[in-house]
């Protein structure tokens, strides 16, 4: 009980709790599209591409969150453009962009003098180090992303179901594809500080995959995925404080535990 009280006493824990709730709702909401469209490799590529953005920001002396978002968005749109214009498979295009971004990031990092702890925050994340400004940015992006996805849920789902049919029905498939790629890129990069580059894709995919095990409709899919995201985030955060473990990995392990539970429920129900 004392430990729970601490969450309502210490500002850094309050911010961490708020961040885990917001990201717990946002990431799986977007993650449903990642799972349904089989874009896990794309998400991974974007999170690693943000690495190049961080390196650029560090060298140019600009806010690392802004530079990582900017580069991730450019890479995401580049992948969308290249997939459309060439006959190459998504995997190939993503692999090319991914490798280029990582290599560029490493090259640029090599130009930096001394040890930069702030850069490594992005690698592994640190939800306990979230500032008030970070929280405001997460809140703003969360509201914007969810509002756009909810308003345009129909065309996004139409395209996810079958893009040819969507095109015939008058949907501007290209516009919505680019918009979805952009949203995924922004959501991934703003979540980096919380969960880190290495694990951020898990926050998108695992709660969404858990929800997919149990959902009997799209409405339930979106509700369940965000519910699992929030439960993972809050439980993982509390557990990490109590057990004195790293928050990001603890959150991911909790969400994986929930995934296996849903698989068990699904099997039992079948």
């Amino acid at each position: 009980m004392t430990m729970i009280n601490e969450f309502f006493t210490y500002p850094f824990l309050q911010r961490a709790l708020a961040a885990s709730v917001m990201v717990g709702i946002l990431c799986p909401f977007v993650g449903n599209f990642v799972v349904l469209r089989r874009m896990s490799f794309f998400s991974d590529a974007i999170s690693h591409s943000a690495f190049a953005g961080i390196a650029v920001g560090a060298v140019l002396g600009i806010d690392l969150s802004i530079s990582s978002v900017a580069v991730a968005v450019v890479i995401a749109l580049f992948i969308a453009f290249l997939s459309e214009k060439t006959g190459l498979s998504h995997d190939t295009v993503i692999g090319i962009a991914f490798s280029g971004a990582i290599a560029s990031g490493m090259l640029i990092m090599g130009m930096l003098k001394g040890y930069r702890a702030d850069l490594f925050t992005f690698l592994f994340g640190d939800i306990l180090a979230i500032t008030g400004n970070d929280l405001l940015m997460i809140l703003a992006v969360s509201i914007l992303a969810i509002v756009i996805l909810v308003i345009f849920l129909k065309p996004f789902l139409q395209i996810t179901f079958n893009s040819d049919l969507a095109r015939v029905e008058g949907i501007n498939v290209r516009l919505f594809e680019y918009l979805l790629f952009l949203i995924i890129a922004v959501v991934i990069t703003i979540s980096l500080k919380i969960i880190g580059m290495i694990l951020v894709t898990s926050l998108l995919i695992v709660p969404a995959a858990s929800a997919k095990n149990l959902a009997s409709s799209m409405k339930r899919l979106f509700i369940l995925s965000s519910l699992f995201g929030v439960v993972s985030g809050v439980t993982g955060l509390i557990a990490s404080v109590y057990l004195d473990t790293s928050s990001g990995p603890t959150i991911v392990l909790v969400s994986i535990g929930i995934f296996f539970l849903t698989m068990l429920v699904k099997r039992t129900a079948a």
Binding site: I151, L153, K154, F161, L165, R167, S216, S217
Partner: protein, 250 residues
Amino acid sequence: MEALRVENLCVKVNGRHLLENISFSVEEGRIVAILGPNGAGKTTLIKAILGLTYYETGSVSLFGRLFKHNNSQTRVGYVPQKLEFDRTFPLTVSELLSFTIPPFYTIPLPATHQNKPDIGSLLEVVGARDLMNRRIGSLSGGELQRVMMAKAIVNDPRILFLDEPASGVDIEGQERFHDLVKRLNRERGLTVILISHDLNIVYRFADDVLCLNRRLVCTGKPEETLTDDVIKSVYGEMMGAYIHSCHDHD
């Protein structure tokens, strides 16, 4: 009125012609079957008409207007041959149909869209009302086909494109489906462009036939057009038409 006019349509991929100089027109309210062997370009033709495949030269007009989807005033319905989708997609039939109904944004608006089609009644038309809350991944071939038909007509299209809609469905299902198409054609004046391999279906349901083998081989009424020679020129020398005249059997 002309529902569809195609002029000098050419589709080329890697230097090879998939379709060469295709020109034809379809009158409103007709059921037209497109016939041809595998690789003849039937699906390519429909996809080119619908703007899903790039065409080198030519033009497509629907109801007198050049057709470009996304800004077209003409409502078009389409049932593809092989629907590729993730069977684990937790999407119900009613959700699938509701997503097809404009507007394509979701903001609560004051009573301006009360003319939205009723999904239950729509499914009743295609004989699939009982499938309303079923997941689309759990549907059989015939059930999915009826649902896709409902999706194709949800926005009251003027013209319908059906790409081998009865493939993978049993004979009874095929009969039911083609009867449905005929009924929609009769009741709504819907123009139908249908790809079929089945000459029996073509004779029984189509008003006109187009024979295709990368080029247009023939057009006209099935009973006048589908002679033995025409079948041979479309499908090859090994094929032919045996026309059985209907008479009582002892």
